[in-house]
Amino acid sequence: MSKLVEKRTVDMQVIGEWVEPQSRVLDLGCGRGELMAYLVQAKQVSATGVDLDFARISACVGRGLSAYQGDMTEFMRAFSDRHFDRIICSRTVHELNDPAGVILEALRVGSTVTVGFVNHGFWKNRLDALLRGRKVRNAVYTTAWHESRPANPLSIADFEDFCSARRIRVARRAHLLGDWRTPCRVLPNLLAGYALYDLARA
């Protein structure tokens, strides 16, 4: 398994531990459905994904998954409060046009919102910018700036500030070191490579 694939599976396993069996899950930015397929198999969830890209929706459909091609905020607006048990926004939040709008709408439609993101406060990412003077490139962000989608990188400190400013309750957090495996106990904004949060309405 490549380093990237390994990291992806770690991400899935943490989310898998948090997800209630047989719950109703919505995956925002579901891609080709890897996470949904894992959760359906490991936790027997009923999963729906949203993505903008036809090929990704087609891949989900071919895997037997339910997926919707369209804008995630417009999708969520079509549902009543707490329609979903859990809404997952894994490694998508940095690519959104209106991250706050998406998270707040997810908190309405879902009982719990799981957000996972790469911590750009991680020391290696800081060094990348500071010493090399270059856009961060690593096992996760493999592409040069001119081959990448627009991104809005955030750090753990940024995200914590956002949650307290918007009075969003953090029900659970997981900070993982650079290997995305070992829990990070101290100075997460500097030492954690990846962060996962379970959010709920205050």
Partner: protein
């Protein structure tokens, strides 16, 4: 069990294509018992003309029902003879190894009740009078069409539908199969369709009906088989055909190009632009294959289709559905636009059903569901052939 509707391969090369169903024959199913329509009116029996491709398996659960659109028919794949200019209307999709794989599935397509391609409709002879029914034929709803087709499927020995699929009115038919026969229908594919037409779509249908009914030859629906409101029907078809295309698609296909024969003579009302002669040709060929009264009945059935109104909401209408659903919209379809297709998928999801929505970017307008697109084929094949037990694969 029905025999394979496939004759020995013809010497003509295009019928020999490895992924073509070849020469096919239509058959008639006669239902001898009385059939009562939603309106309460009844007929003593009815015929549905249909075609099948592939064969029903031992467990009788590999049937895929294809549902046609307003002006479509039962001939959706293969060729009727070696001299045919065109194959069935969904030949690009259906065949051995194609997206709807006839090596795997028993594919069935029937002309709807109320139609005019061999199924019982207003142009059929009323046994009570010995004359065509005309507008004495009972009003037909999409639900009546579905009920009649279910009787055909029972006759063919189909135990359950692997899938029901269709575009436009065919999507409405599929939708009702999944709600009327929830245990029987395992999958539904709804393409370029709507759960209720907009005022604009009803308006276009009404103009078509008026073109027919204002033609003196319509004569309140009483006209000889070879006659009738040919002018009105041709105009209805010309107008409707515009709604099946898109501005960009027409511009690409015709632009402002003029017919070669038009020469420099601008000061006449003869067809000068290619788009004019194309539409005139569409109108002309339609009157030779379609019955004006059927056009009235079927457009009326489409206009009245509104399961949300019948059940209080679309979610309630979809409450019995057990099928997995795939809804496909097309960006340039302004007759049944993407939003109307999205709302079908969203209502299914709100009702707690398994549903997907995919959207293809095309410039072919409403007719896009007939598109030759590898992306569309892959999507449909993936939905039809996915196995229930998916084994997780970490490959990205």
């Amino acid at each position: 069990m029905p025999e394979l509707a496939q004759a020995p391969a013809s010497p003509h090369p295009r019928h020999l294509a490895g992924d073509d169903v070849g020469i096919v024959q239509a058959r008639d199913y006669y239902h001898p018992g009385p059939f009562t329509f939603a309106s309460g009116q009844a007929i003593a029996g009815f015929t549905l003309r249909y075609e099948t491709y592939g064969s029903l398996n031992a467990t009788r659960d590999n049937a895929v029902l294809i549902c046609h659109a307003l002006s479509g028919d039962h001939h959706c794949a293969g060729w009727h003879s070696e001299r045919d200019a065109k194959p069935g209307w969904w030949n690009n999709l259906i065949g051995p190894g194609k997206a709807v794989d006839t090596r795997r599935f028993f594919v069935i397509c029937a002309n709807v009740l109320g139609g005019c391609q061999g199924s019982t409709g207003p142009s059929s002879t009323d046994p009570a009078t010995g004359l065509p029914y005309g507008i004495r034929f009972p009003f037909v709803t999409i639900r009546d069409m579905v009920h009649a087709q279910k009787l055909l499927l029972d006759h063919l020995g189909v135990a359950e539908l692997h899938a029901v699929m269709g575009g436009s009115m065919g999507g409405m038919t599929a939708m009702l199969f999944a709600t009327e026969y929830p245990v029987f229908t395992k999958r539904q594919i709804i393409m370029a369709s709507t759960a209720n037409e907009s005022a604009q779509a009803i308006a276009f249908n009404e103009v078509g009906r008026q073109a027919i009914m204002q033609d003196p030859a319509w004569n309140n629906g009483d006209y000889p088989r070879e006659g009738g409101p040919r002018v009105g029907l041709a105009i209805a078809r010309m107008m409707a055909h515009i709604t099946y295309l898109s501005d960009a698609g027409m511009d690409r296909k015709f632009g402002r190009r003029k017919r070669e024969s038009a020469g420099g003579e601008s000061y006449t009302f003869d067809a000068q632009f290619e788009v004019e002669s194309y539409l005139r040709h569409q109108g002309e060929s339609f009157i030779n294959r379609f019955d004006a009264n059927s056009y009235l009945y079927i457009t009326r059935a489409i206009d009245q289709f509104d399961p949300a109104r019948a059940h209080g909401s679309l979610e309630q209408a979809f409450a019995p559905v057990q099928a997995e659903s795939l809804v496909v919209g097309f960006t340039s379809d302004w007759l049944f636009p993407p939003e109307q297709n999205r709302s079908i998928a969203l209502a299914l999801l709100r009702a707690g059903k398994r549903a997907s929505y995919a959207e293809l970017s095309t410039d072919l307008g409403h007719d896009s569901f007939l598109l030759e697109s590898p992306d569309l084929y892959a999507l449909l094949r993936g939905f039809l052939e996915r196995s229930e037990a998916y084994v997780f694969d970490f490959a990205i």
